[in-house]
């Protein structure tokens, strides 16, 4: 670049860069980071229904909301349920995705694109709509689930009405709805595992199962970490499934943290308390993500 013209060009480029980048950045700062900081302040106040009419009515209460949450049985109940969603539901979902991906990617599988598309279809559907569909599928008398299981002699279950079964039933819908997403990512990862590695292991007499443990899984490790971390985060944020299917019941047995936050915030208008719940959820997600990263790093060193 020639010196005199370069100076002018550089300045024009910087101006264009700012003009093109700043509006989007400003929108994200104002409508995302702004609310997050505002929420932090909100969580330190007793902002409630009265404060909505007159924000100056909200008083600073320090960590009062957090202390209240940590002393509330409802919070611990929702935290426990959310942890089950995240650490039973998410691993189950990842396992189903991986198993299906191995089948779809197998050498002798026919119509690969067809199966990929079919398994992916639930991912693109509208969660609220399919949650309603599953509500009817789980219906004890007329639902297809009981009719299907009945064929194998399994007695009828009141899936969404029984506190022991409602949570597994919701996980059933959640796994069905999203396993196709990770399947796609796993299939892409599997296609990057070099064929020669498999062939070499086969020549050494390794069985299919041994090859899976010794070749496929280690090679898939980075994909696996990404998939587990993002899936766990998503299951931490479960909301529409219990909202539509059980409203958090029966006996609050499916009441996720986000649903609790929604109810406290938008049904009871305890916005200060609900903001504190949101930040507690954030803290739990960060901690869970850190633990997964740490575990995976240790695994790799071992």
């Amino acid at each position: 670049m020639s010196a005199p013209a370069g100076g002018g060009l550089a300045w024009r480029q910087a101006r264009a860069g700012l003009l093109l980048a700043l509006p989007s950045a400003a929108l994200i700062l104002v409508f995302f980071f702004g609310p997050v900081l505002y929420g932090l302040w909100l969580s330190l106040t007793d902002f409630d229904l009265y404060a909505i009419g007159d924000p100056s009515a909200a008083r600073f209460v320090g960590l009062g909301n957090y202390a209240q949450a940590l002393g509330a049985p409802d919070f611990w109940n929702s935290l426990r349920i959310t942890l089950v969603y995240a650490f039973v539901g998410a691993p189950l979902s990842v396992a189903v995705s991986l198993a299906a991906a191995l089948l779809v990617d197998a050498r002798t599988t026919r119509w690969k694109p067809f199966f990929r598309a079919v398994y992916f279809a639930p991912v693109v559907t509208t969660l609220v709509a399919v949650a309603i569909v599953w509500r009817y599928l789980y219906q004890p008398q007329y639902g297809l689930v009981n009719a299907f299981l009945g064929r194998f002699g399994i007695p009828h279950v009141d899936w969404l009405g029984d506190p022991h079964w409602a949570l597994p039933a919701i996980l059933g819908l959640a796994v069905w709805k999203n396993f196709g997403y990770n399947l796609l990512i796993f299939v892409a990862g599997l296609q990057n595992v070099p064929r020669e590695l498999h062939e070499a292991a086969e020549l050494d007499g390794a069985s299919g199962w041994q090859r899976f443990w010794a070749v496929t899984l280690p090679d898939l490790a980075p994909v696996f970490l990404f998939v587990s971390v993002t899936t766990v985060i998503n299951y931490f944020q479960l909301f529409a499934e219990p909202y539509v299917m059980t409203q958090g019941g029966p006996l609050k047995s499916t009441n996720s943290l986000v649903l609790l936050m929604y109810e406290q915030g938008f049904r009871w208008w305890r916005l200060g308390y609900a903001a504190a719940l949101a930040f507690l959820l954030f803290a739990v997600i960060l901690a869970a993500t850190a633990v997964q990263m740490r575990l995976q790093a240790r695994e790799r060193r071992a």
Binding site: L9, A10, Q13, R15, A16, G17, A21, P23, S24, A25, I28, F31, F32, G34, V36, Y38, I52, L103, A106, T109, F115, A117, V118, Y119, V124, T125, T126, V128, A129, V130, I132, V133, W134, R135, Y136, L137, Q141, Y142, L144, A147, Y181, L184, I185, A188, V223, F226, I233, F236, Q237, F239, A240, Y243, V244, V258, M261, F266, L271, A275, A278, L281
Partner: protein, 273 residues
């Protein structure tokens, strides 16, 4: 002989899995065509005794579902357009234009991906209330104005545009705006198509935010309208299934037609970690 049995078994398992996967969707469609009451019989019928479209007619006449359908279409279309404009401009700027503070600003934006969306939701509601945007289309659109994911996606792709191409245009006297319009945008077309499909579907399916920000049923999007409909018509299985079909069908069609672009977005998203 053995490998053939293996192949057969493998494909049988895949077919069974596929059948289980589509069964809920097929039943939804089938039940939506059943005469009133047929779905609530035991054992549950798989096919309509007589195909009827009465539930669809009722949805669009008496229950006026066309309104939320139009709302969803409007919000998703405008939201997609906004994300495309902000994503393509900022994504290109962060990838290719040198300006002071570029790296720092980009890192700040990336940090937003770490924060769960729910954390900002209550305060955003209060902010919009202060601005008079609660219960408006603009209020529903706010989260779709600019997306960090979109900026990130476009930036990744724009980095592959050769600098020489841009610099030679500059030396020929083209202004930066013209370069963006006539060189950058055409080059970004594939990634913008991916982003468009992605955002359209996410905003069509979005539930929590429209539920929070909309209180007037004339502005409800389809998922919110459906969730409120099930409250009143929980007994009308066939009618609710017709409503579910109407909600799901547009996104399924978009997916089937534009599969290639959508799948590319999933892959690109998986690289971001």
């Amino acid at each position: 002989m053995r490998p053939r049995t293996g192949t057969l078994l493998l494909n049988a398992v895949l077919v069974a899995g596929a059948a289980l996967t589509v069964a809920p969707l097929l039943w939804m469609l089938s039940a939506s065509l059943m005469p009133t009451g047929q779905a609530n019989t035991s054992p549950p019928p798989l096919l309509p005794s007589r195909v009827t479209f009465e539930h669809y007619v009722e949805l669009f006449s008496h229950l006026n579902l066309a309104r939320p359908f139009g709302n969803s279409l409007l919000v998703s279309a405008v939201g997609t357009l906004c994300t495309l404009v902000t994503g393509s401009t900022a994504g290109y700027a962060f990838a290719k234009l040198r300006f002071p503070g570029r790296e720092g600003l980009f890192r700040v934006l990336l940090a937003a991906m770490l924060v769960p969306a729910q954390v900002g939701m209550l305060p955003l509601f209060l902010m919009l209330k202060g601005m008079g945007l609660v219960n408006t289309y603009a209020g529903v659109l706010v989260p779709w104005l600019a997306s960090v994911f979109g900026i990130f996606l476009v930036r990744q792709y724009a980095q592959a545009i050769p600098d020489d191409l841009l610099n030679s245009a500059r030396l020929e006297g083209a202004g930066e705006w013209r370069i963006y319009r006539s060189i950058v945008l055409p080059n970004l077309a594939p990634v913008l198509a991916t982003l468009a499909v992605f955002v359209f579907m996410s905003s069509w399916n979005d539930f929590l935010w429209p539920l929070v920000v909309l209180s007037d049923d004339r502005r409800y999007t389809l998922p919110v309208a459906l969730a409120s409909l099930v409250g009143e018509h929980v007994q009308d299985t066939e009618l609710m299934m017709a409503g579910a079909v109407v909600t799901v069908l547009p996104v399924l069609l978009v997916f089937i037609v534009l599969q290639r672009w959508y799948i590319r977005g999933v892959m690109a998203g998986s690289v971001k970690g």
